[in-house]
């Protein structure tokens, strides 16, 4: 699946997007974030506080308990500040 990072999540992980293959035990966004934290110190730092992160699954806002599957595009970002 494709994972996208924006704003300070992009800066702290050091990447804007990556393709990952989490184990089958990862079933929702919260599980994915927990697994992504193990990918390196940048990821661990960026993803340490789940409550600071907003989520979109396939470009629709979602909650951390949203189910995910291998073909999904998951975006992780801070609360938005447009306008």
């Amino acid at each position: 699946m494709k994972v996208l990072y924006f704003a300070w999540l992009r800066q702290r992980t050091g990447i804007g997007e990556e393709t990952v293959s989490p184990p089958p035990s990862v079933r929702n966004v919260a599980g994915l974030v927990e697994w992504l934290r193990t990918r390196g110190p940048g990821h661990a730092e960026a993803l340490k506080d789940l409550s600071a992160i907003r989520v979109a699954v396939n470009q629709e806002f979602a909650t951390v308990d949203a189910a995910i599957s291998p073909d999904d595009e998951i975006a992780l970002f801070p609360p938005m500040t447009g306008g």
Binding site: F6, A7, Q59, F77, P78, P79, T81, G82, G83
Partner: protein, 159 residues
């Protein structure tokens, strides 16, 4: 109904002209233009960079625009939002609504900018001098402003 995401500046007068050209049923046009301020709290802002989520941004703005057109009888509407590096005084966002009467145009314009702030995937990085930069934090007052447009059936979704 139209939305545009672009790096370049826009000309508000020209956009209003284009939106209402040829129409004789529009009785009122409302617009909102957001500009970059040189001050954020007690800090001087030298510039800001707007990042967005290509694809989802267009989708969300189109959904917000469609919602405004469901709620008010608009003859035309336009949202233009810029991204990239902007300096104080630069235009960031433009909302234009046109209707037969002023109430619909004014209310829909207010609704669009309030909803856009909390539902469109944009993030601002401010340069505060000395090479320092910081990501602007979302404000609870923006959520409150968006929440006032919530209807009973979608109140939970908006909060």
């Amino acid at each position: 109904m139209a939305v545009r995401i672009q790096r370049e500046d826009f000309d508000p007068g020209r956009e209003i002209q284009a939106l209402t050209a040829g129409s004789t049923s529009v009785g009122g046009v409302a617009s909102f233009i957001g500009l970059v301020r040189a001050v954020a709290g007690d800090k001087h802002v030298g510039a800001m960079t707007l990042e967005h989520y290509p694809g989802m941004t267009e989708k969300m703005l189109a959904e917000i625009d469609a919602e405004a057109n469901r709620r008010w009888p608009l003859q035309a509407s336009l949202i233009v939002h810029r991204y990239g590096r902007l300096e104080p005084g630069d235009r960031i966002v433009l909302v234009i609504t046109a209707s037969a009467h002023r109430e619909a145009a004014l209310e829909a314009c207010h609704f669009l900018i309030d909803w856009l702030k909390t539902k469109a995937p944009f993030w601002k990085l401010e340069e505060t001098g000395d090479g320092e930069s910081r990501w602007v934090e979302a404000r609870s007052s923006d959520d409150a402003a968006a929440g006032r447009w919530a209807r009973p059936r979608d109140k939970n979704a908006a909060e």
